[in-house]
């Protein structure tokens, strides 16, 4: 081979390699790819915390700290969410005024289905969360909706999560551009900084899980919703996923959205999808 053609061939192959290296990234930036996003999200946490068992991430701060985990395991003998669980079970079995029950609104009578929420409703073109589905069930049966943040809603979702414990999160994204857009919108919300303190959800729960803010250990974002609803000592009571989002926003001095606003539904969709395969652990208890 003449030196000149070798040089040409060399630079051509270098260009090809460069193209091969850069092009997937270009494609990834242009195209919404939830499968690749979820894989990258999980791998980030698995590599950052090689000693944490994968199914343990759903236990939030307790997966990050051995001392706290021991205390929590002792507490689980008499869990602080038990009263809500009992109330939820009773509410779930009590018929509405029209004689129907919650079981009539859900697949499999509402038992063992928590892992399928939120789902993308192709008729509505939007994400439907479990909390939203519960209130829609009430309204369809002539009952007033509950507050999304605590009390009855937390009790009902506590019971529904409890009957689904151990089932792997199983969120589907149908082949529908609106579903992909919802996922992408949730992802954007998750990574966007906001509020006077200028934090994104990711600042605390991706960049800093396991670190302490004062005495509190930050939970990993991976599997954070698998434990919902939770009893929080800080709240002296139960709170739903909606409550978690609203308080996160106010703690960073951002203006919280209305519970079940589109962005919250989308961020729940994003966070739940990337936790696919990890077990439902709710209801949970947190400091």
């Amino acid at each position: 081979m003449k030196p000149r053609s070798a040089l040409l061939l060399g630079s051509l192959s270098a260009a090809l390699v460069a193209f091969a290296l850069t092009s997937p990234r270009v494609v990834a930036a242009d195209k919404v790819d939830p499968v690749a996003d979820a894989k990258a999200f999980r791998n980030f946490f698995f590599q950052k915390f090689p000693d944490v068992k994968h199914e343990d991430f759903v236990n939030g701060p307790y997966s990050m700290n051995a001392d706290m985990k021991r205390q929590w395991q002792e507490k689980e003998e008499f869990p602080p969410y038990e009263f809500a669980l009992d109330a939820g079970k009773e509410m779930f079995a009590t018929p509405f005024k029209n004689g129907k029950t919650y079981a009539d609104c859900f697949p499999n009578g509402g038992i063992g289905i928590r892992q399928n929420y939120p789902y993308f409703d192709e008729k509505e073109g939007k994400v439907v969360t479990l909390e939203l589905a519960l209130n829609r069930c009430r309204e369809a049966n002539g009952e007033a909706p509950y507050s999304y943040v605590k009390d009855e809603m937390a009790s009902l979702t506590a019971y529904m999560a409890f009957t689904s414990r151990g089932k792997p999160m199983d969120i589907r994204i149908p082949d529908d551009p609106r579903a992909l857009a919802a996922f992408e919108n949730g992802k954007r919300y998750f990574y966007t900084r906001r509020g006077q303190l200028n934090f994104s959800c990711a600042s605390c729960h991706v960049q800093s899980p396991g670190e302490r803010i004062r005495a509190e250990i930050l939970a990993p974002a991976l599997g954070i919703l698998n434990a919902m609803p939770i009893y929080r000592s800080e709240w002296s009571g139960m709170g739903t996923t909606s409550r978690r989002f609203v308080t996160c926003n106010s703690q960073t001095r951002a203006v919280p959205l209305e519970p079940q606003a589109d962005e919250y539904r989308d961020v729940e969709y994003f966070l739940s999808y990337v936790a696919n395969g990890l077990p439902i652990s709710g209801p949970g208890a947190r400091p």
Binding site: Q196, N198, R212, I213, R214
Partner: protein, 118 residues
């Protein structure tokens, strides 16, 4: 000092400098105020992320705040970090205390006075 006294221009300069700098009592009160602001959850809340001598239950996100004078001989650099650290490091967790009006310029200055004692 005697050498200084013999040179009126230098004496004048010295007088001007002491007039510009804070009196020891005022400097001390700025340090005390700075510490209060640094520990206050609604203000600097520095303890949430940094270990600081004299503060209980510090967080672990940021570096320990110590030997500040040797690390940052220029106080303007400290002011800039507190005002908006995202300018230097876009990935930082640190809130832009000045830019987002969490702290006033005077409050930032008092916190810097306190930090320089660490």
């Amino acid at each position: 000092m005697t050498a200084l006294l013999r040179k009126p221009a230098l004496l004048l300069a010295l007088a001007a400098l002491t007039g510009m700098a804070m009196s020891p009592a005022r400097a001390q009160s700025a340090v005390t105020e700075g510490q209060k602001l640094a520990f206050d959850r609604g203000k600097g809340n520095c303890l949430t992320c940094h270990v600081i001598k004299g503060g209980d239950l510090p967080g672990t996100i940021g570096p320990e705040l110590k030997d500040i004078k040797s690390k940052y001989p220029d106080r303007n650099e400290l002011v800039a970090i507190i005002f908006d650290e995202t300018k230097r490091n876009p990935q930082t967790m640190m809130p832009p205390f000045g830019r987002n009006r969490i702290l006033t310029e005077q409050e930032i200055s008092a916190i810097v006075d306190f930090l320089q004692t660490l």
